[in-house]
Symmetry: C2
Subunit: 329 residues, 2 copies
């Protein structure tokens, strides 16, 4: 508890742990706020709380996730993420070694994504009033001139693309949580997508929408975009990439991969005549190798997402109702 008091123990924790792993000139200012001069123009800000359980999982941990999740939300405006802030809420008794592993992972993820953690805060709550470690990150990025990407810009005739296989993250977490030993270990797709987005907007500056299908999965995110843009969507099930092992695990667990969270995939919507150009740019990048065009935007006053199934039928893909997988991010 004394590490959250604002006193000497907290100052030591900051010096010996946070400054070591997250070091950068802005954080080193040592004030209660970071001062910087961003490039002129439009900025975006986004915030996300991370409460994932367990803290460490195949393919990542809460530290890396807290960086990737917020970097991706910033990048989904077509922006270049520059600065992050991080607020830690720790439960009394969290082993310092676990905290160090988390912060080190955060630092590595930030360096890899080209962002700086410029400000932070740590609070400690009593045992039983938290759950190890929660991290809220906020990201700030700059939007290149001429780029206009927003969830309300999908238009009938647009193509819908996804950057790779869906469901990996949610199934990885659940199999770890339930101690399911699948033959092939399923690994979270937890990764920063800002580099992929950069090549995409260079290839097709007229992209209309980008969004990462996290909580609620592909199905819920498409419904959000359809509602926001006041359009309908038609997708084709056989075109949606799902790894065979994820598909098998979903069957076993009674999950629909369309609703399972992802942490390293994006949905892109662009004018139909640009779809092949965009697809080629995505496939040329390692994080978009398995990208696919999965459907199109249509006129629909009900803003439905409809899916042609593998058997040739058609069904409405609704919003996630209730909860599927709690604390997945």
């Amino acid at each position: 508890m004394s590490h959250g008091s604002g006193g000497r123990a907290m100052a030591q924790l900051i010096d010996e742990l946070f400054r070591v792993h997250l070091d950068n000139p802005l954080l080193a200012q040592g004030n209660d706020q970071a001062l910087f001069t961003p490039p002129p123009g439009r900025l975006v800000a986004s915030t996300d709380g991370h409460v994932i359980s367990p803290l460490f999982f195949p393919g990542g941990d809460i530290g890396a996730l807290a960086v990737h999740g917020t970097v991706n939300d910033v990048a989904m405006a077509g922006a270049r993420p520059l600065y992050l802030t991080a607020s830690f809420i720790l439960e009394e008794g969290l082993p310092l070694a676990d905290l160090e592993r988390i912060v080190a992972s955060m630092g590595a993820a930030a360096r890899a994504a080209g962002v700086q953690v410029v400000a932070g805060d740590t609070k400690v709550v009593e045992r039983g009033k938290g759950d190890g470690c929660f991290i809220s990150t906020t990201g700030i990025g700059v939007v290149p001139d001429g780029i206009q990407i927003s969830g309300d810009l999908a238009r009938p005739g647009d193509a819908i693309l996804v950057s790779g296989s869906i469901g990996d993250h949610g199934v990885a977490i659940l199999s770890k949580r339930e101690n399911l030993g699948f033959e092939t270990e399923i690994v979270s797709d937890c990764q920063a997508l800002n580099d992929l987005v950069a090549v995409m907007i260079e290839a097709v500056p007229s992209i209309h929408c980008l969004r990462d299908p996290t909580r609620g999965g592909l199905a819920t995110t498409l419904n959000e975009l359809a509602l926001q843009s006041r359009v309908g969507m038609q997708i084709r099930e056989p075109l949606i990439p799902v790894r065979p092992e994820v598909s098998a695990a979903c069957e076993l667990l009674g999950l629909d991969p369309l609703y399972v969270a992802n942490e390293g995939k994006l949905i892109a919507i662009c004018p139909g005549d640009q779809a092949e150009t965009l697809l080629a740019a995505m496939r040329a990048h390692p994080k978009g190798r398995d990208a696919a065009i999965i459907g199109q935007v249509v006129e629909d006053a009900h803003h439905f997402v409809q899916m042609e199934t593998a058997f040739g039928g058609s069904r409405i893909v609704d919003w996630l109702a209730g909860e599927q997988l709690p604390r997945i991010c």
Copy 2:
């Protein structure tokens, strides 16, 4: 739990509660990030997690506190706070009426301080894995040209000022927590200080340091500044404003008001010859009515904070060691 799932229940919660109370054009964009064009120049960003217990206390609640705390951290760079983001971590079972009261209070505090909550996130954890409501806020502000305020700029000969009585917040929380019924109710000083800071930097643009003495209180904050600026400080106990009822409560509770948290006070350090001008500007503002010059910056290789006591003696005012009042903010 379903309100944290990313699905329909969460979309409803956002529409019916967060959008209603925090409404502004940037939040209404409805994307996973907010897009805005700040005034050109230097920006500051600051983040703070709020885990105060109880959620509602005399003089405020966690919603107002989450706005004031971050607005103040931004303002302590001399900056004008413009944008806030808010990340909520809710415990399953938190009454929706409590959440609404918190968010409404947050909205009112933001409007009063002239800032917009431009992006938010909500996560829900299982009963027993949180404690009602935690809120992490991040603030972004713009620094006026010519202003250079930082914790490392205190110089020997500078004057040390405080904007009003200390210890109110911590004692208010503790008396509520312990159900102590004092004759005079002690109320938290929880308030936004950006308007006070604006008149201060207009009167004395050469202010060297500003910092709000929250966790760890006046004593710890002065030690932080002394260390950061590599100077010593001499303060005089009789000059430090403490309300009689706070002083009495501290005696009863075995607390030293120097270490008790504040949420609506600031420390200012400025060139000695500007101190009276700064004091006059502070006292002319309702939030600085009880401002006082409490001491001066001196040369000291040990970076000690020394205090002349009411009885004419002298003692070293050390950092807070261990914890005094957990979860005070």
